[in-house]
């Protein structure tokens, strides 16, 4: 099988729901074989709807897409044989054990008998659930459920893996463990990974390339480094010791750049006009104006700055005004 067939390609992909806006509005995508593609956006941006279309669960209203070389509309069954997917909620039966889940999933994929037993044991070991294999799911932690979810997505040796917000709600240890496993899949097994996330760090650490989606549109795409380099300017953020000096603080900082949204309460933030903004100069100017500072910080450009640059909003909380209905999020 040609490695080219592990790619994901979408042209003008659109999904419109009844009584709702366009959840996905003309997405153009190309994910190369073996690549980890991070699809970053706030809740309601259209991430999950895109995943549902690419995994054949939802027909597109317009546009075309091929996954693993198969058209998602014309050849759904072949797409499903090619892909594995762990959707947003770890959809597990609380009354079955981990091993029973794997056996069920194997059977649904036509893997039976000894091979089923072997594959189940292999995957349980791979995701570190061998000891918990015969415990019911309702006793599993969130991280264990996510790892089992990943194992279930892998039973039939898929060449392309879709992970829809795989680490939402997980603690940092579980998140890191999952990142390592996903990284291994791409690196060692050559699996193409399409990962949606609302976590900047996840996209930054894990993805080879990132697509930023907002209101159903792809607003930016590139490697995390490329995207941050586009911004190229740091942000300085300061909190006045006396809240009454907030105006004076803003006036001083605006001499060095363009005002932007602060991250913390009471903070004034400015994106510096040059990439090598001189912090000493800024401190001297604040001192000269008698503005006392409680907190001062320089942020290197992040993917959130990219999101801010492209949409005028920070990623965190941007989803609150975005909800569009089914699928529930993303």
């Amino acid at each position: 099988m040609s490695p080219r067939e592990n790619s994901i390609v979408a042209h003008g992909l659109v999904r419109e729901f009844k009584k709702g806006p366009r959840a996905v509005d003309g997405i153009e995508l190309r994910v190369d074989p073996g690549e980890i593609y991070g699809f970053l956006g706030p809740n309601g941006a259209g991430k999950s709807t895109t995943v549902h279309m690419l995994t054949t669960l939802l027909p597109p209203t317009a546009g075309t897409a091929t996954v693993g070389g198969y058209d998602v509309v014309e050849d759904g069954p072949s797409v499903r044989k090619t892909i594995g997917a762990a959707l947003q909620e770890a959809a597990l039966d609380p009354y079955l054990t981990g091993r029973e889940h794997l056996r069920l999933q194997c059977t649904m994929h036509g893997i039976t008998g000894e091979q089923r037993k072997k594959r189940s044991a292999e995957l349980l070991a791979r995701v570190g659930l061998t000891e918990a294999a015969d415990r019911k799911i309702r006793g599993y932690s969130g991280g264990m459920k996510r790892r089992l979810d990943l194992a279930l997505a892998l039973v039939h040796w898929p060449r392309i893996l879709f992970l829809d917000e795989p680490t939402t709600g997980l603690d940092i240890q579980s998140r890191t463990a999952l990142w390592e496993e996903v990284g291994r899949l791409a690196k060692d097994d050559g699996v193409t990974v399409f990962l949606t996330t609302q976590y900047l760090e996840e996209a930054d650490v894990l993805a080879d390339r990132v697509g930023i989606i907002d209101h159903g549109h792809l607003v930016a795409e590139g490697t995390p480094e490329q995207l941050k380099a586009e911004i190229a300017r740091s942000t300085i953020e300061a909190v006045p010791a006396d809240p009454e000096q907030s105006g004076a603080l803003a006036a001083v900082l605006e001499r060095f750049g363009v005002r932007t949204t602060g991250f913390g309460p009471g903070a004034v933030a400015v994106q510096l006009a040059t990439s090598d903004g001189d912090i000493a100069q800024i401190v001297r100017a604040l001192d000269g104006e008698g503005v006392r500072i409680a907190h001062l910080q320089i942020h290197e450009p992040t993917l959130d700055d990219v999101f801010l640059e492209k949409t005028g909003r920070h990623l965190e909380g941007a989803g609150d005004e975005n909800e569009v209905g089914e699928p529930a999020a993303g």
């Binding site: 995994t55 054949t56 669960l57 939802l58 027909p59 998602v72 509309v73 014309e74 759904g76 069954p77 797409v79 499903r80 044989k81 892909i83 997917a85 959707l87 947003q88 909620e89 959809a91 597990l92 039966d93 009354y95 079955l96 029973e100 056996r103 069920l104 999933q105 059977t107 649904m108 994929h109 036509g110 039976t112 019911k136 279930l152």
Partner: protein, 258 residues
């Protein structure tokens, strides 16, 4: 074994295992119909003194009710779980495998059928212990189990339809009182020709549940009454056909997969 059969059997097994691991879903459908039978048999025993009443044991007369009630309870429990599968995304997980829609439906119904048959056996054993003997003998007991299976499938297919149509556990639970209205407006407590209130007799006559109960009852208290038995099987089959058609249509709409 053919893959589709194995898939349906695996899904059916899952439905059974899931039920067994929730004791309330096992105990309640076994005990509640038997308790109601005991209460009715005690309170309505005097009916048997009415001239022309078909039997002198009200326990035997009313034994048909637990069979229909048990099928109803099993149906509601199983389809609440099915609706939960839709809500949690478990159905989407299955939809992402090569499994066919019909197999999903058959697996779900197969599991429920197993549970309904185990319940039916329990009712038979308990009633036997309390002295009820089927007039149709062992052959009648076997026919009764087949009829019970069809009744369970009939209710289950409507429950599946509701689960698939709404994807809501609350909506499926809401079916429970609706089904019970049909049960109470049937000939569950008195033969139709003994009903003196015209509207009630009319409602019981157009109510399909009456024919299901009467077919089960005839196997218990009459010798082989082929007309009543055939009518029961006919109504159950008709309900199955309509229910399956609705459930299949709802499944196609629910699984929008390409």
């Amino acid at each position: 074994m053919h893959t589709a059969v194995l898939q349906a059997a695996t899904l059916g097994r899952r439905a059974v295992v899931r039920t067994i691991r929730q004791p309330a879903n096992v105990v309640f459908p076994l005990i509640f119909p038997m308790l109601l039978l005991a209460v009715n048999a005690g309170g309505l025993r005097a009916e048997t003194t009415l001239p022309g009443f078909p039997t002198d044991s009200f326990l035997a007369f009313a034994l048909a009710v637990p069979f229909v009630q048990g099928a109803l309870l099993a149906t509601i429990n199983a389809n609440v779980e099915f609706a939960r599968d839709i809500q949690t995304g478990f159905l989407n997980r299955l939809a992402l495998t090569p499994v066919r829609g019909a197999v999903l439906l058959l697996g779900q119904l197969g599991g429920l059928l197993t549970i309904a048959l185990v319940q039916a056996l329990f009712y038979l054993v308990v009633s036997f212990a309390f002295g009820v003997r089927l007039e149709t003998g062992v052959g009648g007991a076997l026919v009764l189990l087949v009829l019970e299976a069809m009744i369970a499938l009939a209710f289950a297919s409507f429950g599946c339809w509701a689960a698939l149509r709404t994807g809501s556990t609350e909506a499926v639970q809401g079916l429970f009182p609706v089904f019970f209205v049909f049960l109470f407006l049937s000939s569950m407590n008195i033969p139709r020709d003994f009903m003196e209130t015209d509207w009630f007799r009319w409602v019981a006559t157009i109510n399909p549940v009456s024919y299901l109960i009467e077919a089960v009852r005839s196997l218990v208290i009459e010798d082989w009454n082929w007309e009543t038995i055939s009518l029961g099987f006919g109504v159950a089959s008709g309900m199955c056909l309509v229910g399956f058609a609705l459930a299949s249509h709802a499944l196609i709409n629910r699984l929008e997969r390409t």
